[in-house]
């Protein structure tokens, strides 16, 4: 089975700059559209589009904006979304992923929830170095 987080040699299918909440809508709609074209069920599209919504909103609220890139792996078995920001980064990724942990007054369910709604999920972050979330869904 291919590693859904491996870097694809293919160029991104789409890239969207994240600056305002309007871009969160654009990002999740773009992902949903691609998954729909691939014939995924409504539940699977909704689950993954919700995860994308959580992560892109985080990039805007916590990371001061960023960018998402959408990739298909070489064998088109996975759709991978990479969301990058240049924000303050996350000190303790494990803690941030636990339900109920929040720094912005939200419910603290976003990051852990997004992980549950994705097939592959990886967070790379360090204080001062920004955050990159890579998440994938099986096609």
């Amino acid at each position: 089975m291919p590693d859904p987080n491996e870097t694809s040699s293919r160029p991104a299918v789409a890239e969207i700059t994240l600056a305002t909440s309007r871009d969160v809508v654009a990002a999740r709609q773009a992902v949903a559209r691609i998954l729909k074209e691939r014939g995924l069920s409504a539940v699977r599209i909704t689950r993954f589009a919700t995860a994308v919504s959580e992560i892109t909103r985080n990039a805007i609220v916590h990371g001061g904006g960023g960018k998402i890139s959408i990739y298909l792996d070489d064998r088109s078995e996975y759709l991978r979304v990479e969301c990058r920001d240049e924000g303050p980064g996350i000190e303790n990724v494990t803690l941030a992923m636990s339900d109920g942990y929040t720094t912005a007054g939200g419910l603290g369910r976003g990051l852990g929830g997004a992980k549950r709604l994705s097939h592959g999920f990886e967070v790379r972050s360090a204080p001062g170095k920004g955050t990159t979330v890579s998440m994938s869904v099986k096609l």
């Binding site: 809508v25 949903a32 409504a42 539940v43 599209i45 909704t46 689950r47 919700t50 369910r109 709604l117």
Partner: protein, 114 residues
């Protein structure tokens, strides 16, 4: 655009899929004022256009319901897509102050009895 219409003794709010965070915060403001001014018994949130409900939108719905309750109006959520319900449970969102009705007719019937 999100619209608010008076239907019988309730305010019917249709939330559109492309609603932004900014608009949804404005909606809280507008809706709370109209509940108080128009003395309605209920608020019906029609979310049938929403393809997803993430934790932010979920929290806004919960807050709208909380505000309505303090202003003596019951909140009904209608038109939730099955895929959205599945996802909300996975996110751990239970929208405690809201009642769900499968349709607008169902919500209005319950509000007439209120």
């Amino acid at each position: 655009m999100t619209s608010i219409n008076l239907v019988e003794n309730a305010l019917l709010v249709s939330i559109q899929d492309d609603v932004t965070d900014t608009e949804i915060v404005e909606l809280q403001d507008t809706l709370s004022n109209r509940i108080a001014k128009e003395n309605v018994k209920g608020v019906i949130l029609d979310i049938s256009s929403l393809e997803i409900v993430d934790t932010f939108v979920g929290r806004v719905i919960a807050q709208l319901a909380g505000i309505s309750k303090l202003l003596a109006a019951e909140t009904y959520v209608v038109g939730m897509r099955p895929a959205v319900a599945v996802t909300l449970v996975e996110l751990g969102m239970y929208l405690p102050e809201t009642r769900t009705a499968l349709s607008l007719t169902h919500a209005l019937t319950q509000l007439r009895r209120a």
